[in-house]
């Protein structure tokens, strides 16, 4: 049912939120490799293997990107567009994970071919549940495209 461990790229500027995501994946033991970067520029650097991420062993191709929208330097939507516009990256599922439930954000995200849009719930248990479901759905049930590598 589940194949090779998948690398998850978490793009999140809020350290606390990143911690929450990390804890949840750890707890549900479906944790594959979670890589956290805190701004849009770093996310793109990672995906393209630039700057600090030039070593492919240290920065493997992610099987899933969890992307916040409001990010320093390069905006989340911009990162999403870049990924989806690149033939090599466009197959990577990108799940938007953000606090904003603004309609315009949702619309723009889907316009830019986001694979899913999730809003961080304020309620603790809901957040935990969301993370659990998210993990199962994307890491267990979801069929990933065959990696080109």
């Amino acid at each position: 049912m589940h194949g090779e461990p998948i690398t998850i790229l978490l793009v999140e500027d809020d350290q606390a939120h990143a911690e929450i995501v990390r804890r949840n994946f750890e707890k549900s033991r479906i944790a594959n490799r979670l890589i956290h970067v805190s701004d849009g520029q770093a996310a793109l650097d990672y995906l393209y293997g630039r700057e600090a991420f030039s070593d492919p062993l240290q920065a493997p191709r992610p099987g899933l990107v969890l992307l916040d929208l409001r990010l320093p330097k390069i905006d989340g939507l911009e990162v999403l567009r870049t990924i989806k516009a690149d033939a090599l990256l466009s197959q990577i599922p990108v799940v938007i994970l953000t606090t904003s439930a603004a309609e315009s954000d949702v619309a723009r995200a889907y316009d830019s071919h986001a694979n899913s849009y999730l809003v961080k719930p304020v309620d603790f248990s809901q957040f935990i549940e969301l993370m659990e479901v998210l993990g199962y759905y994307w890491l267990v049930w979801n069929q990933h495209p065959k990696s080109e590598e």
Partner: protein, 930 residues
């Protein structure tokens, strides 16, 4: 809407064609009459030059002038008179005037140059006037008409007194020559037999034509608004009035003519009756006289007693008694019966006795023959007027044959009773019951192929029995009489004068009686009447001309008064419109879309210039100049919407940009309502207004709205974020307390603290930001250096912590504004600079000013970590942060930007990239004292 710009405005239809045609017709007629007269001289056909027998012909010089003038008038073209044509016209009329002046004075002084004949053979005279020379009246008229024509072709301005003079001169010439022509028509031409040569009939006709041409030419000058200056409204009545005058003139002339003819007829019949009465009277007397003579003769005819007496005289020539007796008869006959002489002829025709005896005059052979004839026939015979060959005297004789009383067939002799017509008959015939200058009675006898005059004529000596007229000359009344005609006739008498005659035949005689009178005398009383008629007609014509002129004048003045008032009203309305329109913020206009695709602005207020830089006058005919300044991106849309509006007849509205030639790009709003015109064009009535300000406000509002939206969004997102953190970690905290996971408890609490701190800071700064939106403190003057120093002192902690060297530019610049806000600019910038100094070994911040006045640019320069050019646009955004780890909320630069904008300034960042330092440049136009 690419509109052709070289299109000429449609010309108004040529006006005054009617009048111009009149000029050409008048000139043409004059030229033709001149040509006909010339032809007459050339072919020696006097009828062509004079139009009648006994009338004066048109002189070759006159004919030449008419041809020249007529041709000149054909050249007169209204507005297309070029310089050459004008020169020709001026020359012709000037030379004509000079010639006519010369001829006038020569003619008046009785000097006639043969040069006037132009080489034609001219001889003779009519009623004492030499022919082939220009009449002084003609010359004078030529002079007047030349001057009038010169005036008419020179004066261009209507209503000029010279034009009016020319017009009235034309009327005078027309009236004068109408009278002359009337006189010709009535058979009593004017000025004949006077001191001067009278104008010929064709001359009068030609002058009439020239007069009408001049009238037409001067018409528009004398009566402005008619003819060439082309007021359609005025042209119609002017035409009508001209025609009315012509009809009136024709009516007066024909009425005068028929009235006169009727009078003449009446008078003529009276004269004829008189003539007839006189003829009858004469005839009766002649008859009586003749009968008496024959009765005298009858006394001796077949008188036996007398026959015996004659017999004894002849048979006994020596006997005293018979001679005494016959002498007594002779005495009685001569004295009582006025016989000239009594003869007794023998059978051979020889005179055997006569009384008075003394004069022994031989008998005429004619009488002798007649005597033999009477003896043969035995009847009384009349020897009609005959001339005695010897004495040459004229006699009449009555011959009575005397036969033997016993033997009746034997002739004895013939008694000849000779009558001297001079004694009784001629005076009697000559006698006229009323005094008359030309009346006369003629006695005529046909003799062979001629009519022989028997009596002495009044105007010809020794005419009796000498003068005869061949019978072929049937126009002579004597011939008519000789041919047996009776009644009243017209003819030419022996002198060649036209006469009126009554013809009679005396019964039983070869005599024909002609009582005749010169037509001239007959018409003499008529002529007097004619003068009255002609002058009456002339006066009526003049009155008609004046009347028509006054009606005309009244009409035109009324027309002009109306027009003037309408114009006044129009000017007032237009002024009102102009004044109102001048106070409108934009422009009002009418846009016409013609069916041929041309569009134009028949009206636009002066505001058009402010909006488009185009004068209303530039787009009256077509709109290409207007569309040329509309922004090329908007122009097709404007055209399309206008056409659509015209097509569907729905209101037009448009907002478009205009590249004003002086004011640069502006926004203009227009709206209009279309109206379909009967000619198929569409007229849009509307207004145009500048909306640059509104557009700017709209843009600002849009910007503010998006900023607000962003603000709301950011706030909701950024405030929610710590909340999520706190709630979530509270959950974790509960778990960790339950499982007594001490490490995690501390960690959870740390996250929660951080989140709460961040939230508090956010709220503080939001409050700060909202305060910046308005200036709270009254503006005050503050030196730049003081502001910078204050800002630096507020950031003193950070500066000293990081060991930054701060340098403040040396300038005396003074700013005016809310001091605390202005300080905030530098405070934030210095704070930012300190924050992002990185691991710079010699951190430095430079606060300075460049330029001066409104160009003053402030800057804050550091040598810190710099900003990647990719993020330059992002740094001033609300809550935008470039660094995750930093302790800022991303509000600092957004705050600075807001304050700068409050003072109408702009802000930008300059950095060559990471590690190259950063410079923030900004302006504060409203705060800088110039």
């Amino acid at each position: 809407m690419n509109l052709p710009s070289d299109r000429e405005p449609a010309l108004t239809p040529m006006s005054g064609d009617f009048i111009h045609r009149l000029v050409m017709i008048g000139g043409g007629i004059a030229a033709v009459i001149g040509c006909i007269a010339m032809l007459g001289w050339l072919l020696a056909l006097p009828r062509l030059t004079s139009l009648g027998q006994g009338l004066i012909p048109m002189a070759p010089s006159t004919a030449a002038l008419f041809i020249a003038y007529g041709t000149a008038l054909l050249l007169v073209r209204r507005s297309t008179c070029n310089r050459r044509t004008m020169l020709i016209l001026h020359s012709i009329f000037t030379i004509g005037a000079l010639i006519s002046v010369a001829l006038f004075f020569l003619s008046i002084n009785g000097v006639f140059l043969s040069a006037e004949h132009l080489g034609f053979k001219v001889m003779g005279a009519v009623e004492g006037s030499p022919i082939g020379h220009m009449s002084p009246i003609t010359a004078f008229t030529f002079l007047l008409i030349s001057l009038a024509y010169l005036t008419a072709i020179t004066v261009r301005q209507s209503g000029d007194w010279r034009g009016v003079t020319a017009w009235w001169l034309a009327i005078m010439v027309i009236v004068a020559y109408v009278m002359l022509i009337l006189a010709y028509l009535f058979g009593t031409p004017m000025f004949y037999g006077g001191t001067f040569i009278p104008p010929a009939a064709p001359t009068s006709l030609a002058f009439l034509a020239l007069g009408f041409a001049l009238l037409a030419l001067a018409q528009p000058l004398a009566w402005p608004g008619t003819g060439r200056s082309g007021q359609d409204a005025m042209r119609y009545p002017s035409k009508v009035l001209l025609i009315a005058f012509l009809l009136l003139a024709a009516g007066i002339i024909s009425a005068g003519y028929y009235y006169h003819r009727k009078q003449e007829k009446h008078y003529l019949s009276e004269v004829e009756r008189q003539l007839s009465a006189i003829a009858d009277l004469k005839m009766g007397e002649l008859l009586l006289w003749r009968e008496e003579r024959l009765a005298d003769a009858a006394l001796f005819h077949n008188n036996i007693a007398f026959a015996n007496l004659v017999k004894s005289v002849i048979k006994h020539p020596g006997a005293q008694q018979p001679f005494r007796e016959i002498k007594a008869w002779g005495v009685a006959l001569k004295s009582k019966r006025n016989y000239n002489r009594i003869f007794l002829l023998d059978t051979l025709g020889a005179s055997s006795w006569s009384y008075p005896e003394s004069a022994s005059e031989p008998l005429s052979r004619h009488v002798r023959q007649k005597a033999l004839e009477s003896l043969r026939t035995g009847r009384i015979t009349v020897a009609d007027f005959y001339r005695n060959e010897i004495s040459g005297r004229i006699y009449l004789s009555i011959l009575v044959p005397v036969f033997d009383p016993v033997r009746a067939s034997e002739p004895l002799g013939v008694i000849v009773m000779r009558i001297d017509p001079e004694k009784y008959l001629y005076p009697f015939i000559k006698r006229w019951p009323v005094s008359s200058a030309s009346a006369e009675t003629l006695l005529v006898r046909r003799e062979g192929n001629a009519a022989l005059f028997l009596n002495e004529l009044r105007f010809k000596k020794d005419s009796a029995l000498n003068l005869s007229v061949p019978l072929q000359k049937t126009e002579v009344p004597a011939v008519m009489a000789a041919l047996g005609r009776e009644g009243v006739v017209r003819g030419i008498d022996y002198r060649g004068h036209p006469v009126l005659a009554a013809l009679r035949s005396i019964p039983d005689s070869p005599w024909r009686l002609v009582t005749r009178m010169d037509v001239e005398e007959v018409y003499a009383p008529m002529r007097e009447r004619l003068w009255i008629t002609v002058f009456l007609a002339g006066a009526m014509l003049l009155a008609a001309g004046t009347g028509v002129g006054f009606v005309w004048r009244r009409q035109s003045s009324q027309f002009y008064r109306d027009k003037y008032e309408a114009e006044l009203k129009r000017v007032e309305l237009e002024e009102r419109l102009t004044r109102i329109a001048a106070n409108l913020p934009g422009a009002i206009f009418q846009l016409q879309l013609r069916p041929d695709g041309v569009s134009c602005l028949p009206y636009a207020s002066s505001g058009l210039e402010e909006l488009y830089g185009v004068l209303p006058g530039d787009v009256v005919l077509e709109t290409s100049r207007l569309f040329a300044v509309i922004h090329p991106d908007d122009s097709p849309r404007v055209s399309a919407t206008i056409l659509e509006s015209a097509r569907t007849l729905t209101a037009w509205h448009s907002e478009h940009r205009v590249i004003h030639p002086e004011r640069g790009p502006i926004w203009v709003e227009g709206s209009a309502t279309p109206e379909l015109k009967p000619d198929g064009s569409v007229l849009l009535h509307g207004f145009l207004a500048e909306i640059t300000g509104r557009k700017q406000k709209e843009r600002e509002i849009e910007k503010k709205n998006s900023e607000l939206e962003r603000f709301t969004y950011t706030v909701s997102h950024d405030l929610k974020s710590p909340l999520v953190t706190i709630k979530t970690f509270m959950g974790y905290l509960e778990e960790d307390i339950r499982f007594r996971n001490e490490d995690r408890i501390q960690q959870d609490l740390g996250f929660m603290h951080n989140a709460a701190d961040k939230m508090s800071q956010l709220l503080d700064e939001l409050l700060e930001l909202s305060r910046v939106g308005r200036l709270s403190n009254p503006p005050e003057e503050v030196a730049f250096r003081d502001l910078a120093r204050e800002a630096v002192s507020l950031d003193a902690g950070r500066i000293s912590e990081r060991g930054v060297a701060v340098e403040i530019g040396d300038t005396a610049l003074v700013l005016v504004g809310d001091r605390s806000r202005l300080v905030e600019i530098w405070q934030n910038l210095v704070e930012n600079a300190c924050k992002f100094m990185g691991d710079q070994e010699y951190p430095r911040i430079e606060i300075g000013v460049e330029g001066s006045g409104h160009e003053t640019i402030f800057f804050v320069r550091d040598n810190g970590i710099g900003i990647d050019p990719r993020f330059h646009s992002k740094v001033f955004g609300l809550f935008e942060k470039l660094e995750v780890g930093g302790d800022g909320t991303g509000l600092g630069l957004a705050l600075v930007k807001r304050i700068v904008e409050l003072y109408d300034g702009t802000i930008r960042v300059e950095s060559d990239g990471t590690g190259k330092g950063t410079t923030i440049f900004f302006t504060l136009p409203s705060a800088v004292k110039p």
